[in-house]
């Protein structure tokens, strides 16, 4: 059967199909509750994986930024040491580009504190060399040794280096979050299959009668599918709203300025959890359809 057609038919709500299955209060509430709980967990897993993704992006972005070498030398040696540093960097593996910041850029860096017309050339201000690393990164210990031998005033400033394992950890957490989402989806499919299975078993006689009066399998299945899909949709919508409210109410750690980004949604990320109820409904639709058509197989 054409999928879009069957979805349309389904949403248009066959009034007759709705009533052919007797009401079943308990499995109904169980399914709605399961869907709500799973949606709640899914939203948190989603928040975790989005937040860790953001974290990994930010940290690896900072890693890709240039590290800097600061050359603090008496004015007359500054030029020579700068050249020495650049020469060293040319032969250092892991360095993509290196350049000494020209005076206007240095001035621009200092402008917020000293104003725009600072005569940097004549002041004993350290010369900065910007180093852009290749993807592999450079061996900072080796570079430090060579710098201290040939340009004693040069200091390699690689404060971002220690973040590399953190980026890996963040990426790992991101994967875990995605894995949790997958597990939650599968668990919900399994729970709904079980709930639908018990409803189907309880209604075997109904299915038999319907078959005997000429109902097609899809007609019978639709009654169950509709019921469980709508329950899963309602339950997961409630779970999603509650979870989003909880996350929204979490105290923000962003403005504490730490490296920790909050376990929350940012900007358009708030739209992501809105996908949870439709996905839950989709899962319920196929899980119930599968269970129903399988149960009908041995009813002639």
């Amino acid at each position: 059967m054409n999928l879009s057609q069957s979805v349309l038919e389904f949403l248009s709500g066959d009034v007759n199909a709705k009533r052919i299955v007797p009401p079943s209060g308990f499995t109904a509430r169980l399914t709605a509750f399961t869907a709500a709980a799973m949606a709640f967990l899914a939203v948190f897993a989603l928040a975790l994986s989005l937040a860790t993704h953001r974290l990994a992006e930010r940290w690896s972005g900072e890693l890709a930024q240039s590290s800097t070498i600061r050359i603090s030398a008496p004015l007359e040696q500054r030029e020579a040491q700068t050249r020495a540093v650049l020469r060293i960097l040319e032969t250092t593996p892991g360095v993509a580009t290196a350049r000494a910041l020209p005076p206007d850029e240095q001035r621009a860096l200092l402008a917020p504190w000293f104003g725009a017309d600072l005569p940097v050339e004549t002041l004993p201000i350290p010369q900065l060399v910007e180093v852009v690393e290749t993807a592999q990164g450079l061996d900072s210990e080796g570079l430090r040794l060579r710098l201290s031998a040939e340009a004693p005033g040069a200091v390699l400033d690689d404060h971002t280096r220690w973040r590399r394992p953190l980026v890996r950890a963040a990426e790992r957490l991101n994967l875990l979050g995605l894995g949790a989402l997958g597990l939650i989806t599968l668990t919900m499919a399994a729970m709904i299959t079980l709930a639908a299975g018990s409803a189907l078993a309880a209604n075997r006689e109904v299915m038999r009668v319907l078959r005997l009066i000429g109902a097609r399998d899809t007609f019978i299945a639709r009654a169950f599918v509709r019921r469980f899909t709508l329950r899963a949709l309602a339950g997961s919508a409630a779970g999603t709203v509650i979870a989003m409210a909880c996350i929204w109410a979490l105290p923000s750690v962003e403005q504490a300025g730490g490296f920790l980004t909050g376990l929350g949604f940012a900007g358009a990320g708030w739209l992501a959890p809105l996908l949870v109820p439709p996905v839950a409904a989709f899962v319920a639709f196929w899980a119930t359809r599968f269970a129903a058509l399988r149960a009908l197989k041995d009813i002639p």
Binding site: N16, A17, R19, I20, P22, P23, E205, V206, R208, V209, L210, R211, L212, I213, G214, A215, R216, D217, F219, L296, P300
Partner: protein, 225 residues
């Protein structure tokens, strides 16, 4: 319209029906008699493809049964009205909704057929019980409701298993009249019954063949009936 040829059937191995042939052609009227446990209900179940024969072929509206998929079987069953011996209603629905259910199952809107439903319910004398649940009906009322449900799609074949078992004589005749009427419109009718008076009453109105099922064999009963 339904043709059984050389059918053999038995529940879990023990033979019950042995080389049975039967042809329900348009406009034919059959009675099926035989001792209790002879296999009348079983034979009817074979006719509406609820059971698969161990041997032999069943042809329904020209299609051999073993070639039919589940959806095709569902469609064919809409052309075969069955009054089941054990009725089989949806217990959570009213009598009226049960009678209308074949319409819904066939993809029609029951609300478009209100007049036909009312007419049928009136004919079987259940107009005032339309909103009752099946559990609230007497045995005879259930049988009449089952007949109404079997006829709602105006099927080409009617298979009725003891349709008058719990009904008084007057009502039996009324139901028979309904079936005779349908038979005159060209429908094939098969009634399984023990009620010899009913058979006699029918023979006064139509040419009916009386079949007797005994020890796995199907014979045409004598003219004495």
């Amino acid at each position: 319209m339904i043709e059984l040829s050389d059918i053999t059937y038995g529940y879990d191995g023990s033979p019950l029906l042995n080389g049975i042939s039967l042809d329900l052609s348009p406009g034919s009227f059959h009675f099926l008699t035989g001792p209790s446990g002879a296999g009348k209900t079983t034979l009817l179940k074979l006719c509406y493809l609820d059971l698969k024969p161990a041997k032999g072929t069943i042809t329904v509206f020209g299609a051999p049964s073993e070639k039919l998929g589940r959806d095709a079987i569902a469609k064919l069953r809409r052309r075969v009205g069955v009054v089941h011996q054990d009725c089989g209603f949806l217990e959570h629905l009213s009598l009226r909704e049960n009678v209308a259910m074949p319409l819904a199952a066939a993809g029609q809107d029951p609300t478009q057929h209100d007049a036909e439903i009312d007419e049928l319910l009136a004919w079987v004398g259940l107009a005032r019980r339309a909103d009752a649940l099946p559990a609230e009906l007497s045995g005879g009322e259930k049988q009449r409701a089952a007949l109404a449900r079997a006829l709602i799609l105006s099927p080409d074949v009617v298979l009725a298993d003891e349709p008058t078992g719990n009904v008084d004589w007057e009502m039996s005749l009324r139901l028979l009249t309904l079936l005779v009427e349908l038979n005159r419109m060209g429908k094939a009718i098969l009634i399984a019954t023990h009620d010899l008076n009913l058979i006699r009453a029918a023979k006064a109105q139509v040419t009916a063949r009386v079949l007797r099922l005994r020890r796995g064999q199907l014979d045409v009963a004598g003219v004495d009936l």
